[in-house]
């Protein structure tokens, strides 16, 4: 089947096996042109393997990979018009910064002078012009990171692959680089495929996210979709913080489900496709969609006792031991302190769910 010329990458039924171990279990996904696409998952989920298969460093055991409609899975890496920013940067230690950035251009047949001129422009783009004559070892981690980025962008690849490029940077620098990467992606109009295990990073930067676990695609969607409507337990648990309750489903109607807890307490929440009456599933509710009160105020109010208040700067996290269920986290933003109450540890209180906050999950 011919590929779609307008899709940057089309992965079709890609399988990767190492001996008996299957690293990727038949993954199919399409990455659009000019998209900031993130492969997100815990270590060992296969996200880096998939990226390396697109770059050409790993063979594809089964399946196809198309780049703007052309099959590339059998091409060696140096014939694929994609470039990679490596996790450890992999800058050539014996070359100057300028020569590092010019390398790819030279290999694509540009003259040395031309390659250097363009490399100089790339260094300007990442604000490192004054370091052009230095060696990589003379630069800080953040600067090396930007050189690696300039080097990968210089040959104007059709797709830029980024393999956890920010993981070695400290928090503040990482935040700054997240924004810089996002801007670069918009400016250059190149499709970025970004691999990370940091869900916050993924939510901040991506147009779309593919959440992976154990070699399988768990969910693909925009950051909002992934966060607000996780499809299953894994996604809900991996992305952000969440509270989980075991419930039995009594009725499902118009995307809403009526269920009850082990002790019989009834609840109404959003359902997902594939869950029917009688199912024993989990309900998830984000901590910021909960609030506390000394009397029940909503239909979905759960009795509990405050265990601890934890101050985390912008919010306060309150741990509440539920009378019928596990410990819940309730997050109260400091800016919301006028409307929402904080209770001392030991207080008997009610945890109330905002309307539509609860969501059933597939296991």
């Amino acid at each position: 089947m011919p590929g779609n010329k307008t899709d940057a990458i089309d992965v079709r039924n890609a399988v990767k096996r190492y001996g008996d171990f299957t690293a990727l279990k038949r993954i199919s996904l399409t990455i659009k042109d000019n998209e900031f696409f993130t492969l997100l998952g815990p270590s060992g989920c296969g996200k880096t393997t998939l990226l390396r298969m697109i770059a050409g460093f790993e063979d594809v055991t089964e399946g196809e990979i198309l780049l703007y409609g052309d099959e590339i899975e059998s091409l060696p890496p140096h014939l694929r018009p994609v470039n990679t920013v490596f996790q450890n940067y992999a800058l050539f230690p014996h070359m100057t910064i300028l020569d590092n950035v010019a390398f790819g251009l030279e290999m694509r047949g540009r003259s040395k002078a031309e390659a250097r001129k363009r490399a100089g422009e790339m260094l300007e783009l990442v604000q490192l012009s004054q370091f052009a004559a230095r060696k990589p070892s003379q630069l800080s981690g953040g600067q090396q990171q930007r050189v690696a980025l300039a080097r990968a962008l210089a040959p104007q690849p059709k797709v830029l692959l980024l393999d956890e490029p920010l993981s070695a940077l400290d928090l503040k620098l990482r935040k700054a680089m997240q924004l810089e990467l996002k801007h670069l992606q918009r400016e250059t109009g190149i499709t970025f495929i970004f691999v990370t295990h940091d869900q916050e990073e993924a939510l901040t930067m991506s147009d779309r996210i593919a959440v992976m676990s154990a070699g399988e695609l768990q969910q693909l969607g925009s950051p909002t979709e992934i966060y607000e409507t996780p499809r299953n337990m894994f996604v809900a648990d991996f992305i952000g913080e969440t509270n989980l309750l075991e419930v039995s489903v009594d009725r499902v109607m118009n995307g809403r489900a009526v269920c009850h807890l082990g002790g019989g307490h009834a609840l109404t929440c959003n359902s997902v496709e594939g869950i029917g009456e009688g199912a024993k599933v989990h309900m998830s509710v984000r901590p910021e969609r909960l609030f506390m009160s000394d009397v029940p105020v909503e239909a979905e109010s759960l009795k509990g006792r405050v265990a601890e208040n934890i101050f985390v700067g912008t919010d306060i996290s309150t741990l509440v031991d539920l009378a019928e269920g596990p410990q819940f986290i309730v997050r109260t933003s400091n800016s919301d302190r006028g409307n929402k109450r904080i209770f001392e540890p030991g207080s008997e209180i009610f945890v109330n769910m905002e309307l539509g906050a609860g969501r059933l999950l597939m296991d």
């Binding site: 890496p77 470039n83 992999a90 800058l91």
Partner: protein, 309 residues
């Protein structure tokens, strides 16, 4: 209080420094007795007069150097003329050692690269296999080589048997035989340092080069070789230096025509026919030559580190 503690600390540091000075004594003694002493002795002997049955007469003389470089001597009535015999031998030694080094590099580098890219647990096995032949005495190995290479030897028998050639190739008593002998004698000295360098090489650099459109060959030339250069230089020095002064391979495989400086020196100290001051002088010239080459390569390396690496 603080000052007292500080001065106490520095006193301890001084004691430690003194002790360290004394502890270094054994290594200085070894260097003095086994390196500096013999070299000084050789230097002195090269400026003495020869005794006809070997040994020296303690009388200063430049005769040994005169004999090495000049035909009509510096001290005759007529103007001196250059003696080419020994300079030719010297030149041949450099050439032969260089060819052997190149051969070791061409064979040794891929071998080392191969070993360094095997799974980590089998690498020591490969290194071990490389060193096994070297448990056998060098003399026996060189004689065996002669046996293998001679006109009626297994190599020629094999080549004639397969029909590749009609009559045996004469390898023994050629320059090439000497080069082969030297190459085989010192191959591990090339393989081991190159292996160590390639093993330390960060292979993600090769991936980065491939990612930036470099072919395998270009990657090797532009990325791998510069990174492992120190190991290659070390290997070349370790093969070149002993090859220069070697006498077993030239004697056994090269015959009289392919005499090298090592054999010349060896002869001066053998039996009654020798000339100790001349042998010492030739050794000093060899030593000077090797030192110049080493210094040159060290300087090149330093320059490369400053500008390019």
């Amino acid at each position: 209080m603080a000052a007292g503690a500080a001065s106490g600390g520095s006193a301890r540091a001084d004691t430690y420094k003194d002790a360290r000075g004394w502890l270094l004594l054994p290594s200085w003694a070894v260097l003095g007795i086994f390196v500096l002493g013999p070299v000084c002795m050789m230097l002195i002997y090269s400026f003495l007069t020869k005794e006809f049955r070997g040994g020296v007469i303690w009388e200063p003389s430049l005769a040994a150097y005169d004999q090495f470089f000049f035909d009509r001597g510096l001290f005759g009535d007529e103007p001196p003329s250059i003696e080419w015999t020994y300079i030719t031998i010297f030149w041949r030694s450099i050439w032969q050692a260089g060819a052997a080094t190149l051969l070791s590099l061409v064979i040794g580098f891929p071998t080392a690269y191969f070993i360094a890219t095997r799974p980590e647990n089998v690498r020591p096995v490969w290194v071990f296999l490389i060193t096994i032949p070297y448990w056998v005495n060098l003399l026996i190995r060189t004689v065996s080589m002669k046996f293998l290479l001679r006109d009626q030897g297994p190599l020629n028998d094999f080549l004639i048997g397969t029909g590749l050639i009609d009559s045996p190739i004469h390898i023994v008593n050629t320059n090439f035989a000497v080069q082969l002998g030297l190459f085989y004698s010192y191959l591990p000295f090339m393989v081991l340092p190159v292996y160590a360098a390639v093993e330390r090489y960060n292979f993600s650099l090769s991936e980065a080069a491939a990612d930036l459109y470099a072919s395998k060959w270009t990657t090797l030339r532009r990325i791998v070789l510069p990174a492992v250069k120190p190991g290659v230089v070390a290997g070349c020095i370790l093969v070149f230096v002993p090859s220069m002064g070697s006498f077993l391979a030239p004697d056994l495989l090269g015959g009289a025509k392919n005499f090298m400086i090592g054999s010349l020196i060896e002869e001066q100290f053998k039996g009654n026919a020798g000339n100790w001051p001349f042998g010492a002088a030739a050794s000093m010239i060899l030593l000077t030559m090797v030192l110049i080459i080493l210094m040159f390569s060290a300087r090149q390396q330093a320059k490369a580190d400053k500008t390019g690496g």
